[in-house]
Symmetry: D3
Subunit: 172 residues, 6 copies
């Protein structure tokens, strides 16, 4: 029988300081640097779940609403939502804090998917991921829908086969 | 009347070498570093179209199919596909080349969206983007669909209002 | 009356991945890189306590017992222990984790001291730091002794005036 | 008989320029970056003495008195003070220079300890370190006291066994 | 017979953004960073021509006429001009663009020479480089003269043996 | 009368460790990184002579004879050779040391030229540079010849006007 691990065992929190080289000429954090951090924090979460080296398989749509300034403190939290044979979806929340002014805002939310690999780089099965809290169950349930959307966007699934996804689009 | 610019005027080509710090312990390029480069090349394309400082607004789903090794040469090409008042969608193609073995593969394709801002960081209108080749027209036409998907995924549009998007999902 | 804040409000957790450029030719993390991370995580803790920009004032003796390898995941936790007018002592614990082998060891423990400054760089008073748990009270109480040792080592206090410190050295 | 080398053969001088990413939002050098440089310069001194790869074993109390600005030129000088079987203590002096204003101040002084290791990472004996000048002899003599303080602070020696150290604390 | 390749097959275009750490305290790009980029783009051109790992053999005189500012977009174009047994000369053009102000200037032109090596680091023959356009033929023809100047400056050729070079100096 | 300073007052010594990101896939230092270090050490020498911010004006032909490996210790020494109104020529010597094997070789020698600028970036006069030792006088005397070669190579002097240079080429 497949091994099981609680999703919360994969929880990782990372804190970063926005330095000059991370910013554009308006002193705003560049989106690419933020995605670089998101990739590292979520890769560590996927490593903790699988006890394996992992490689990034896909990144879901990420939107950047808040401008983040030089000197801000960025907190990233990542946790596996669900595992599928050798792949794992990871959910990431990002907060940005301007400490002298005492303001903290949620700046991003994202889903990254990783594949666990062995030393030769071949995919290898990972434990099942068990959700416990209500929030974890909701993320676990939504993982199937997001997976179908990824497969459609990658041209690997036909839309009318995406049963789970239909609920997003109110399809009868 | 709004200014018009050919989409090809925004074309940018960037070449990068995969260095040790860009790789994981299997000597594969980390996905976050790739997204960092994609963000820079596409931000430059959006700057060229708008002659403005730009900020990343969103990144569409990106998938990573090929593993890219230490020492590979990465070529990224970016070009604006369409402009909407102050925002621009940029299309990015990425190739990875192992020069000693003479192999070159297309490794990624992505869409990033940027907003042009003035010196105070406020959104400002950009020129219209005119497609010319058949490929450019196809990307221009698809931009509306992708935009509706972004708005739905960000919770800012209801699926049944997404007329353009319906064609993806074969909705009657 | 001086403002008071719970020491736990300053708690920060940071996670880092050991990359090639952080290591020596035996693939071991260099001590200087570890101290660089310790300085960042503890500066953020001091910023959170004081809501000010802070500058490093001193680093207590740090010892490196474990060798930390390329690819390890480093977790650093920092929390203010006690505040003195404009300065704050921060306690840092560091764990190193080799995820594929499933081993995690405590690799370092350290005390850094910071001074809060205003926009002109002048020292400025910070809130009192209130310990709550037994562990926090112990760290709070020891802070005076460590402060006397720092002053003696910096040549700014005579050993026979260091009443608190005497207990360390069993002095009658 | 154990090989002997003059301490001055380990002398290293390193010069660094304070760049934007090394500074906080007040344009002051961050303490962690300074310790990173101190670690590199003193590791090279220990390598020169031992002709071995070395690993950082401990850092003694470091205090930061001067604020160092963006664009300053930092000069670090390191020299082994004394060797103990496989370990070496290194003394570091740091100057900070603001060239346009023509000011140069001594900003830091520190002691780092390194262990020489073989290719498998095991400790290996190093040559004796011979002091020659009056200053070198003084640093050589003080090395025993500093070593006892390190052992006590690491919980590996009882204070009443630290005979050498007693002189610092005026103990009868 | 020796393999032949068109010089244009080695063409590489690289785009870089001037970030804070690349600049001095006047926000001008440092010359050393520019040479670092020139070395990478021209090494890739030499790799493409030879399908080998290459090492930098020499850099001809480079002059810096324009000051390049923080935030500028740098475009570097490199192409092999001529091959000699295991070495290749590469010609590099550099443009600097200030996008918000819409100005673009040619900032540098340089010649770098590389040697192709095998996996043990020994020199290995490369294909002949065939020029096609008028500009390429001119660069191909000039390569001999520049090579003689390099050999003289390196003390490896006597000036009166440098027949090709004499034309530069109007020698009878 | 113009201020005078001894050339030796500009002497700078810098030490660097070759890290993974500085090397190619054969673990050899990349030439561009070496030039980056040369630029920094020689800019500091020119700053020390002029007490001004300086910008790189030109780099003379540099050749790379030795391959330098990961983990090597690089020592760079720079000193102004001669000053011309607002410009200064700096001579740089570079040694590369493999400490475990106890080998040290001279790997490079180069001349960089800098211009001193005021806060607006305009050229400003610098003190005369006085050579003292025989070696310094020789470098001072050769500076005129090298300057003429630079002007010819930059197309700003005609070869038959280069009286000083003629001696290199044995011209009657």
């Amino acid at each position: 029988m497949r091994k099981q691990k609680s999703v919360k065992d994969s929880y990782v929190r990372m804190t970063e300081l926005v330095l000059p080289n991370d910013t554009n000429t308006l002193n705003n954090l560049m989106g690419g640097k933020m995605m670089h951090w998101m990739d590292i924090v979520s890769a560590i979460a996927a490593q903790k779940h699988s006890n394996r080296i992992v490689v990034t398989a896909s990144v879901d749509n990420v939107s950047f609403k808040e401008s983040i300034k030089l000197g801000n403190v960025i907190t990233l939290e990542a946790q596996v939502t669900r595992a599928f044979s050798s792949s794992m979806e990871v959910h990431i929340n990002v907060w940005s804090e301007d400490i002298p002014s005492g303001t903290k805002v949620k700046s991003n939310e994202a889903f990254f998917t990783f594949v666990a690999v062995d030393q030769s780089g071949n995919p290898i099965d990972v434990p099942e991921a068990l959700p416990e809290t209500e929030e974890e169950v909701k993320l676990y349930d939504g993982a199937l829908r997001r997976r179908q959307l990824r497969l459609i966007l990658a041209g690997r699934m036909k839309p009318h086969d995406a049963n789970e996804l239909k609920s997003i689009f109110d399809l009868g």
